[in-house]
């Protein structure tokens, strides 16, 4: 099995007057584990359905390997889709489910069974081959779905949030398993999810989508450390967000006159003096002290201290704003609740971007100012 590259050339999708996907260019490399991450309704499933052939693009074209897919029906594309509800066939046994694609291609029963047994071994289901689907656990069904899709030797495997029905432990386990199967087979995986943990841990690269538009395509690390839009910064991971106006830009460092005073951070590309901007700083880079070491600091009052295990979650108030800091146990030990405190952060750990739409995180990062 070898993966093929998937190229979207100005592909868009419309449902009546509603534009589900704006014209999008996207190159997924052969053999890559690629995730499309975004909130529900952002158009990620629509992209998947266009690649698999269940939906025709309103414009643009899709290429898989050397072949343009326009006019090629779903049952003749080199793709296999793993559905959100798995869509396993309830009237067939495990091995018949897995061999379905081969049966559809007219492969004889002996050969079918042999191929199915190989895949059953690959997904660690040996001994379960005669069982019916409703006799399997959630994780086992997941594996049947993966094996059934791999049986047709697809060049591209498309996964539509297949882990969302599983509980947390199993989900984490299946993440590792999917990643391993992808490496072993070399098939191109395109994985759709609204769960950033899934996208960041499994993927070679992640595309973050919002309102039918891809906002950023990058590696997991780059997405987390160098978000390119306010949406990505607020959707992926946690961020403290401060609003203000840019008063100076020097050596790639922007100064923001914010509601909590003058603060500095890395300048995002295309940021200009005088514009409304947002400063993003992650909870884990904040330091809490009585005497700040730099002027990139804000006086705060502690509101709450939550022990999370690996780290300590501090909720702090500064004026009307609420800030969150994640401290290591060692850093947490030296803090005296009753003294006046400051938070501070290194200039390189914050990023200043022109104001834009934020992800809807339930409003906890932001006061009710807009």
């Amino acid at each position: 099995m070898r993966g093929k590259e998937v190229v979207l050339d100005k592909v868009s999708a419309k449902f009546g007057d509603f534009t589900a996907v704006n014209p999008t260019d996207l190159v997924v490399n052969a053999g890559e584990f690629f995730s499309i991450l975004g909130p529900s309704g952002c158009g990620k499933t629509t992209i998947l359905r266009m690649i698999s052939g269940f939906l025709n693009p309103a414009s643009g074209s899709i290429r898989i390997g050397e072949d343009i897919m326009t006019g090629v029906p779903a049952n003749q594309r080199p793709t296999a889709l793993i559905f959100q509800n798995l869509a396993l066939f309830p009237y067939m046994s495990v091995w018949e489910n897995i061999a379905f694609g081969l049966e559809a291609r007219g492969v004889g029963k002996t050969e079918r069974r042999k191929r199915a047994m190989e895949l059953i071994e690959l997904v660690a289901l040996s001994g379960e081959e005669m069982k019916k689907i409703d006799e399997l656990s959630g994780g086992q069904r997941q594996r049947v779905a993966v094996a059934r899709a791999l049986a047709v030797e697809p060049a591209v495997l498309l996964l539509d949030e297949p882990l969302s029905a599983l509980d947390l432990k199993l989900r984490q386990h299946m993440r590792a398993e999917l990643r391993q199967i992808q490496r072993m087979t070399g098939v191109t995986f395109i994985y759709i999810t609204h769960d950033q943990g899934e996208a960041l841990t499994m993927s070679d690269r992640v595309a973050v989508m919002n309102h039918g538009r891809i906002e950023q395509i990058d590696t997991s690390d780059r997405i987390y450390d160098h978000p390119s839009t306010p949406f990505v910064a607020s959707f992926v991971g946690e961020n403290n967000i401060l609003r203000g106006r840019v008063t100076a830009i020097e050596n790639g460092i922007a100064t923001l006159e914010s509601e909590l005073g003058s603060l500095r951070g890395r300048k995002a590309p295309e940021l200009a003096v005088g514009v409304d901007a947002m400063l993003f700083v992650r909870p884990e880079v904040l330091k809490i002290s009585e005497q700040p070491q730099s002027d990139n600091s804000v006086a705060v009052k502690p509101v709450r201290r939550d022990m999370e295990g690996a780290f300590v979650n501090w909720v702090l108030s500064a004026g009307k704003r609420s800030l969150v800091a994640h401290l290591t146990k060692a850093a947490d030990a030296g803090i005296d609740h009753d003294r006046s405190l400051h938070i501070e952060f290194a200039v390189d750990d914050a990023i200043v971007m022109a104001s834009g739409e934020l992800a809807d995180t339930g409003g906890q990062d932001d006061e009710a100012s807009d």
């Binding site: 049952n75 869509a87 379905f100």
Partner: protein, 263 residues
């Protein structure tokens, strides 16, 4: 206070159920009893003597048996034709999108609501133009015209419960539309197809209105019984009724037992 009204309504309900069961089964019981009474025409009030004589007499009723055979002959065609038509219509209506669906639905359901007499007469009038005389053939067509609506409704109800991702998954794995239908859709519809076939058989077998107007000089069991009922008839018909009741009971007992075993 509350419990009192509850128990009073319980009593009312039980009385109602009792009356309902009587209303349903008393005629049936009287018919069965008359089959074992030597009095002719059949009676329960004029009880003469207990006899099984009417049962062997059935074999001598050549015309009745011929008509019974006609009933089966008609059903043999009506059942598969109705199920096939109903299946096609159900698939068309569930898969077709747009305003045409509602019109088509109303059109396909209309024979069910048309009086049987009208269907029967319409069928013979239509076919007479082509030189086809009223006979079993016209009855088969007339019955199929309205019976097909019932399988359509039953199969539609099941189709609407189907997970559409099942079919997409099959297509995605490379299945042709025919292979998909045979391997995924048909097994899913099988229970609905079996029950609609059973219903179609019963509807064809017991149909009178449409049949009597479309069959011309021929007969089915129902038309023959109706014809005899107008004259003074013998309890032979009651004996036949007893056999039907027995066969029906036997099937429902087998069905219930099988359900029990499956548990």
């Amino acid at each position: 206070m509350k419990t009192e009204t509850m128990s009073r309504s319980d009593v009312m309900l039980n009385v109602f159920i009792g009356m309902f069961v009587m209303f349903m089964f008393l005629p049936l019981m009287l018919m069965v009893m008359a089959a074992f009474n030597s009095a002719s025409p059949p009676s329960v009030t004029d009880w003469q003597e207990l006899t099984l004589a009417w049962f062997p007499r059935l074999a001598e009723e050549d015309r009745l048996i011929g008509c019974l055979q006609n009933s089966f002959r008609i059903a043999v065609f009506v059942v598969p034709a109705s199920v096939l038509l109903g299946l096609s219509a159900a698939i068309l209506l569930t898969r077709l999108e747009g305003r045409a669906t509602n019109v088509l639905y109303a059109f396909l359901i209309s024979p069910m609501l048309t009086p049987g007499i009208v269907l029967g007469i319409a069928t013979i009038v239509f076919w007479r133009n082509f030189g086809v005389a009223a006979d079993l053939f016209t009855t088969i067509l007339a019955q199929t015209a309205f019976i097909a609506s019932f399988p359509m409704l039953i199969i539609m109800a099941r189709l609407q419960r189907q997970d559409r991702f099942q079919e997409e998954a099959a297509l995605d794995l490379g299945a042709s539309p025919f292979f998909l239908f045979r391997r995924i859709t048909l097994p899913f519809l099988l229970p609905a197809i079996v029950s609609s076939a059973a219903l179609a058989f019963l509807m064809s077998f017991e149909n009178y209105n449409t049949t009597v107007f479309s069959i011309g000089g021929s007969c089915t069991l129902t038309t023959e019984i109706a014809a005899q009922a107008r004259k003074a008839h013998t309890p032979v018909i009651n004996a036949l009724g007893v056999i039907f009741v027995a066969v029906t009971l036997m099937f429902s007992v087998i069905y219930t037992l099988r359900k029990q075993w499956e548990k």
